[in-house]
């Protein structure tokens, strides 16, 4: 007999089980949905939170890092925050309802409606064995939006999707389909509207159609004590272009997963990430990119600034299938480590089965360059101001890749505010 000694249950695990039991009584969904959720919870009861023995969670060991989970659920507050860009169309990611007038060719509906439909379980089926975020979201999800941009539609204004947490649980799902040849800029604002502790899972399923051009931004601005588990699942069509910009400047325990599948030739994917890390926070960006077809280009650049006792993780895995010839993939992770007690782990992985490809990766960790600092100070700039200028310089190279003046300005301002608070 194979007896596996079960690890003692952690407070966070118990809290999640209790919360589900509570929810199950209140919530009426269809029977198959409940059965699916029961199954996931049963499985969770057996396996618990992912810990260091699971490879993809090795550096973000939730068994030790997730100390507790707040009780209760975050009430719906609507899209009430000031948008990052003043001309944005603002939506609540949780409701999916249309607050403001929708531009022609863009339809928005509620994810919850989709959940009541007969094939709801397909939506929540988990794809990967180590997909904790997917599972916890499937168990608890109670809001989201479904966005559809029709073929060839070019959205003039940026669309801001606000996912506001105000304490307690918040589990949101967004399903976004960008039609062939369509264009648009979307900003996923992961914000806190209250200082009460939040526990958030937020999943975005994004399909970028043939020849579509999309800028997708995830601005994670949670509170200092919040847990944020984010995931974006991307499918890239033929000739599609996607710039994914991730700005982590908030939260206590953060993981943002990026799963990309290129299933049409000639797509172009750019990931740009800025992690501003301070206090006792732990922040993880984990990317996984499957090149399944030929001639696709991808570049990933992550810049991290680490203060205090903060810890950061970047895992980037690029898999190039045998038929994916002429793949061009470049990955870089650069860290400015401004504290002896801070840490950053970078784990790039290339798995290449094709022979005619160009793939590379590099990682650097450095302190502020003393020669640069001396030069600025020798011009009369004070030490603290000179340091701030050099930190800004380090991240501004990434921000400029957004190639949109309004966005660049908005993020430069947001980052410099964060830096003023932490430096």
């Amino acid at each position: 007999m194979n007896v596996q000694s079960k690890k003692p249950i952690t407070a966070a695990e118990q809290s999640l089980l209790d919360r589900y039991a509570e929810r199950r009584k209140e919530r009426q969904g269809n029977a198959s949905l409940t059965a699916l959720r029961d199954g996931l919870v049963h499985e969770f009861d057996q396996t618990g939170l992912p810990g260091r023995r699971i490879e993809t969670w090795h550096y973000t060991d939730l068994r030790t890092l997730l100390k507790f989970v707040p009780e209760g659920f975050s009430p719906e507050t609507g899209a009430s925050a000031k948008p990052l860009l003043s001309d944005a169309i603002v939506l609540s990611a949780r409701v999916g309802g249309q607050d403001s007038a929708m531009p022609e060719g863009m339809a928005v509906s509620s994810f919850n409606e989709l959940l009541t439909s007969a094939n709801a379980t397909d939506l929540l089926e988990s794809k990967r064995p180590d997909d904790f975020i997917g599972r916890v979201n499937s168990i608890f999800v109670d809001g989201g939006s479904v966005i559809d941009v029709s073929k060839g539609v070019k959205l003039e204004k940026p669309v801001e999707l606000q996912n506001a947490a105000s304490g307690g649980h918040l589990h949101t799902r967004m399903s976004v389909n960008i039609g062939d040849g369509a264009e648009g800029t979307f900003i996923e604002r992961q914000i806190a509207t209250d200082t009460a502790d939040s526990f958030v899972s937020s999943i975005t399923d994004l399909t970028v159609g043939k020849s579509a051009v999309v800028t997708w931004i995830i601005s994670q601005e949670r509170g200092d004590t919040d847990t944020h588990l984010g995931q974006i699942n991307i499918r890239l069509g033929e000739d599609a272009r996607l710039m994914l910009f991730i700005a982590n400047a908030g939260g206590h325990l953060v993981r943002q997963e990026v799963h990309v599948t290129a299933d049409g030739e000639n797509s172009d994917f750019a990931l740009r990430g800025v992690n501003l890390l301070g206090g006792d926070s732990h922040t993880d960006i984990t990317m996984e990119y499957d090149h399944l077809v030929a001639n696709c280009v991808s570049t990933e650049t992550i810049r991290n600034v680490v203060f205090d006792r903060a810890r950061g993780v970047f895992q980037g895995q690029i898999r190039v299938a045998q038929i994916a010839q002429k793949t061009d993939a470049k990955m870089a992770c650069n860290t400015l480590l401004l504290s002896d007690e801070g840490e950053f782990f970078s784990k790039p992985e290339l798995e290449i089965f094709a022979d005619d490809v160009q793939c590379g990766h590099g990682a650097t960790v450095a302190d502020i360059d003393e020669n640069h600092l001396f030069y600025l100070k020798a011009r009369g700039i004070s030490d603290s101001k000179a340091r701030a200028m050099l930190v800004n310089a380090f991240i501004s190279e990434i921000v400029e890749d957004l190639e949109n003046e309004d966005l660049v300005e908005a993020f430069e301002q947001r980052f410099s505010e964060w830096l003023t608070r932490h430096a």
């Binding site: 001396f374 030069y375 600025l376 011009r379 009369g380 700039i381 004070s382 310089a393 380090f394």
Partner: protein, 251 residues
């Protein structure tokens, strides 16, 4: 304006003494040339004067306008009017040149209790100074010194000097890397800053620069000390005979 008395300085990291009992006085209005063989300590002296933390002063003093500056840090010294045109200006990616110039000018004004420059005033000043030095404004749209040619970097240093209007200017081999025309332009820029209340220290290897910026005094640095001082004729003599005679005489 500048009095260096029996200065001893060493590399902080390993304790190697580079400046070994150096004496030098430069009066307001004076242009002093410092010459000396490679490795004699000229650049090190410029760093010690500007307060670079890689060097420790172990003995002696530096008086600027009669007061010791040893306790002042780099930015305080700069704000008080000490300027170094670097032998090797560093490239700083991500810092826009114009923004850097504006911050530097305003930080110095703030330190002196003056108002910040308005943006139009700032741009006008930069345009004027750049035109004098034949610097293309497009170059200033780039990140600080990034991709500038050797000569462009030196010109950019003099542009900064002209904008910051320091009292004590130290030019470390500003002539190296400049073509013949640029040398003339830069020299004119330096000469324009000559004034009775400003002192200029010119570190150079060649008489060529001193034909344009005619010095009031010439000093020879060797193994961290001034071993000979004289007038502009001393530079001509060095050009002709090299350092051997003087080094022998001092030994």
């Amino acid at each position: 304006m500048l009095e260096i008395k029996n200065l001893h300085a060493r590399i902080a990291e390993d304790g190697t003494e580079i400046i070994r009992g150096l004496d030098l006085t430069v009066k307001a209005g004076e242009v002093a040339a410092i010459m000396g063989p490679n490795g004699s300590g000229k650049s090190t002296l410029s760093y010690v004067l500007t307060g670079r933390e890689d060097y420790e002063v172990t003995e002696g003093d530096i008086l600027y306008n009669g007061e010791s500056i040893l306790e002042m840090d780099v930015s305080e010294r700069a704000a008080s009017g000490i300027f170094l045109a670097f032998q090797y200006p560093v490239e700083i990616p991500g810092v826009a040149t114009m923004q850097f110039l504006k911050v530097a000018m305003n930080e110095q004004r703030k330190a002196r209790g003056e108002d910040e420059l308005s943006t139009p005033d700032f741009i006008r000043k930069v345009k004027e100074a750049a035109a004098e030095l034949k610097i293309d404004m497009d170059m200033l749209k780039r990140p600080l010194n990034v991709g500038f040619s050797g000569g462009e970097k030196k010109r950019a240093e003099i542009l900064q000097m002209a904008l910051l209007e320091p009292n004590l200017c130290i030019l470390d081999e500003t002539d190296s890397g400049l073509d013949i025309d640029a040398l003339k332009i830069v020299a004119d820029g330096v000469n324009a800053l000559r004034s009775p209340d400003r002192a200029i220290v010119v570190i150079t290897h060649y008489q060529r620069l001193l034909d344009y910026i005619v010095p009031d005094s010439v000093h020879v640095l060797y193994k961290g000390r001034v071993i000979e001082s004289g007038q502009k004729e001393l530079a001509l003599e060095l050009e002709k005979n090299g350092y051997a005679n003087i080094i022998e005489k001092a030994a």
